[in-house]
């Protein structure tokens, strides 16, 4: 049983504030991913939970115990580092046993636990090798093994997959997820890769400039981003944004950006009740913008194709809609070519609106 709670946590390095007022409750056995661009404070937050970094202000609780002043070794956590941090002069077995030896675990128990972990990770054959003799993926497994033998209350992962090649990364992602459900331990995972965040997290915390932008399940964040940053960060290719003017005609509201005109469906228009500004930022995900055959003014957008990017299961087209650059998903069998004129239809319910003054979702 270990829930992790951060209350009003701040971290300041001399004159730089790395983390501001971080509040989060991580449930027992939950897998939470901290994601954001580099320098957003995600790794610092993880290191504060680990006890490798002091907290400037606030409280961190692990299993209802304040750990602000508790040294890393007494927090009962295990951490997996990006560069694995294996001890190069020790064998795989010694690497995995090190933590247990430090805690004076009986030899027999150490042997049993290391073998058990090695079996789970499929590295039983490698126990007598040195890290130098292992591939990237194998080293990663050893690093994981070193964490799981200790049976900690909380696992902390600091971009553990970013040194692996793309294919291995996908494979390890799945394995990590399986491992987590098998071990049922609270996990905090830091990454800058939005795909990793989306696929692995029970919940995702999106951070920027030391501030939490939004916390939620992957689909909550994807479908209802709190601001343009979250909307643009999650999803690949990222969401199309353009600024538009609001044209009110009685109860109906239309969006106008240059020659582009879109009528908002009533439920979206209702959101704008009481909205005082006359401009909004419109966000449409590429997959919610599909080519159709017929142009319906107010419902569709006419555009010229600039670049076609087939990626196999989908073809993305970069278009220019009278000065507004957009990316649209044209389906895997698309025959669209550059310089073609296309008609794109956004799915009305999937149009996101943001306030240009503070970038927040309306």
């Amino acid at each position: 049983m270990a829930e992790v709670r951060l209350e009003g946590v701040w971290k300041q390095f001399e004159d730089v504030v790395a983390v501001r007022d971080f509040n989060l409750k991580i449930e027992d056995k939950e897998f939470v991913v901290l994601v954001g661009p580099s320098g957003c404070g995600k790794t610092t937050t993880l290191r504060m939970i680990a006890g490798l970094e002091e907290i400037t202000r606030g409280n961190i609780y692990i299993a209802d115990r304040i750990v602000n002043k508790v040294p890393a070794k007494d927090r009962n956590i295990a951490m997996v580092f990006q560069n694995y941090a294996l001890y190069p002069h020790m064998t795989v077995y010694e690497n995995m046993a090190f933590g247990l030896e430090m805690r004076r675990t009986p030899k027999e128990e150490i042997r049993r636990r290391v073998q058990e972990a090695a079996e789970i990770l499929g590295i039983s054959e490698l126990l007598h090798r040195k890290p130098k003799q292992l591939s990237g993926g194998q080293r990663q497994r050893v690093a994981l093994g070193r964490a799981i033998v200790r049976k900690p209350q909380v696992f902390l992962f600091d971009e553990p997959l970013s040194n692996l090649d793309a294919k291995l990364r996908v494979q390890m992602r799945v394995e990590l997820k399986k491992l987590h459900s098998r071990l049922a331990t609270t996990a905090v995972y830091v990454t800058h890769d939005q795909v990793e965040a989306m696929t692995m997290g029970d919940r995702i915390v999106v951070m920027k400039d030391g501030l939490i932008q939004q916390v939620g399940t992957p689909l909550e964040l994807y479908n209802r981003p709190a601001n343009t940053f979250v909307a643009g960060f999650l999803g690949s290719p990222s969401m199309n944004f353009f600024e538009a003017e609001l044209v009110r005609e009685g109860m109906a509201i239309a969006l106008r950006a240059g020659d582009v005109r879109l009528d908002l469906p009533p439920e979206k228009a209702a959101l704008l009740n009481g909205y005082s500004h006359d401009r909004v930022i419109v966000g449409i995900r590429p997959e919610d913008l599909q080519p159709v055959s017929q142009h319906l003014p107010g419902r569709t957008i006419q555009a010229t194709v600039e670049v076609v990017e087939p990626i196999g299961n989908e073809t993305y087209v970069d278009v220019d809609a009278a000065g507004v650059p957009l990316v649209a998903g044209a389906g895997r069998h698309s025959t669209i070519r550059p310089k073609d004129t296309v008609v794109l239809k956004p799915i009305p319910e999937k149009i996101h609106l943001f306030d240009p003054r503070d970038q927040r979702a309306i």
Partner: protein, 279 residues
Amino acid sequence: MVGETKTQKLIKFYIPLALYLFFLLFPFYWMVNTVFKSDNEMYNLELNPFYIHSPTLENIVHLFTRTIFFKWMANTFFVAILSTLIALGASLLAAYAIQRLRFKTSQPTGVAIFLSYLVPQTILFIPLAHVIFQLRLWDSLWSLVLTYPTFLVPFCTWLLMGYFKSIPKEMEECAMIDGASRVRIFTKIILPLCLPGILSAAIFCFTLSWNEYIYALAFISDTYKKTVPIGLVTELVRGDVYHWGPLMAGALCASVPVALVYSFFVEHYVAGMTGALKE
């Protein structure tokens, strides 16, 4: 390089290398050349000086029987080994602290240590002489054991700082989370990983102490307590008479231990100068 002709290679690589080797090795050749010549041959200007006409061991016999060369060697070993150990102990701790423990003055401390290395020995020996006198260590080998670290520690500290820097911090942090104390991390992780660096530092210290001249000359006057460099020069140069043969024999014998130390550890030594962890 690809596409270089043999002549280009010769001009760019082999000829400069040959010149360099000649420059480095000629003194050794001269030393060996002189050791095995008799005085008569040495001073005979008719003979080719680069060649030994009638080899003799008389210079070596002179060195071994008419001076206390072995006592000097023992003294030098004693001083070099002890001061190396002291310097290593101090610089390992200093370098680790400056590099890894975050304290406000860690950077200035590092610079200060380096600056102390820049003070010439020829100036430093004056105040040090006073200290040695106060400590009543005048004319004792301990005066050298204690003063050599003054130039060994700064050098080793800087060498080891660079070495510690190349060990990923995460490794220590991981050990810390694993439950190891600072001391455990230092002995179980850092020291084994830094062995090549420590060896190079040790070799450096040993060589510098072995060859040291100024302090030994200033602090020791008893013949029985001299180190090799001083013993040879003071006992085999009498006024304006240079006993070249025994002098060179002494120089040759004294360079053997250093050469052995280097050749045993040359691989570690190179690794130590080029950083810690290569995967």
